[in-house]
């Protein structure tokens, strides 16, 4: 697909964004728009479902609540019968493998979600400005994810490494609000945004 026909939600935000004077910002945000998202539904009590999911994704679904696994894809636990696959893979190649005989349901969410990667020492402090969830060290661990609120938007938050680096996934229509919120609240620490292609 030619890239120029794609329109990502934070394109406009990043176009208008003016980096602050801070030479060494404490927080770096990279916007990673061109990723595919797949929502998987099924019952954990159904062995066939779990095996089928693993076979089509080549990666097991995380069964522990509020965790994610990293392999070919990032797979996040969203609920007791719901997972989110975030991947660079072409979704059609996955969707084609789904058997109609098995109670596994997949919904393409590409275009409906956006991912921001937040890195830097002050990220936990920044997130605590808008999250009621305890995201402090020792409490929010690597491999953990949580759906929660950031100020007035719902988000999916996941800690990928100890630098720390958080993945923040938000619905398309709330992405600009989250961007503006991070920019405003992050100005205290120094924050910089870049868009990855």
């Amino acid at each position: 697909m030619p890239n120029e026909i794609k329109g990502f939600v934070l394109d406009d935000f990043i176009k208008k964004y003016r980096p602050s004077n801070s030479t060494s910002p404490e927080i770096n945000v990279s916007i990673k728009p061109d990723v595919n998202y797949l929502n998987i539904r099924g019952s954990v009590n159904d062995r066939n479902f779990l095996e089928h999911a693993e076979s089509i994704l080549q990666q097991a679904l995380p069964l522990e609540f509020n965790t994610f696994t990293v392999g070919d894809h990032h797979i996040y636990w969203l609920g007791p019968n719901e997972w989110l696959v975030v991947t660079d893979f072409d979704l059609d190649s996955i969707l084609q493998k789904i058997s109609k005989k098995i109670d596994l349901y997949a919904t393409n969410q590409t275009g409906g979600l956006t991912q921001l990667i937040l890195r830097g020492n002050c990220v936990r402090s920044l997130l605590a400005r808008g999250c009621t969830l305890d995201v402090s060290e020792g409490n929010f661990l690597i491999g953990q994810c949580a759906q929660t609120g950031l100020s007035k938007a719902g988000i999916l938050l996941a800690l990928t490494d100890s630098s720390p680096s958080f993945n923040l996934i938000v619905r398309r229509s709330f992405a600009e609000y989250v961007g503006l919120w991070l920019e405003q609240s992050g100005s205290e620490f120094g924050i910089n945004f870049v868009q990855e292609h």
């Binding site: 609540f65 509020n66 609920g79 719901e82 009621t132 969830l133 949580a146 759906q147 929660t148 609120g149």
Partner: protein, 95 residues
């Protein structure tokens, strides 16, 4: 500001949840068999308990699951939370 233990996600702030009223009100399996009075009882009448009360909450900002909270409406103390049992209603088959 309550702290509520979602049976899946653990303890979260009240702001992540939405309230769903009294728990345990079963929808009649055959509404058409009920007279207006009985239907109105199901539809409108709620206990409004002072004290221990079973209610429905939804972890709306989290895993989107509905669950049961046993709460003291006087002290706001939450005694327990539990998942909703996955059981089919006991449908009586007409003879």
């Amino acid at each position: 500001m309550l702290l509520i233990k979602c049976p899946w996600c653990g303890v979260r702030d009240e702001t992540e949840f939405s309230y769903g009223g009294e728990a345990g009100i079963e929808r009649p399996l055959k509404p058409e068999d009920l007279n207006d009075q009985e239907w109105a009882d199901y539809l409108f009448m709620r206990k409004n308990t002072r004290g221990l009360f079973l209610e429905q909450w939804n972890h709306s900002l989290g895993c989107r699951q509905w669950f049961i909270v046993e709460r003291n409406t006087v002290t706001y103390e939450i005694i327990a939370t539990s998942k909703i049992k996955n059981e089919a209603p006991d449908i009586q088959v007409d003879a």
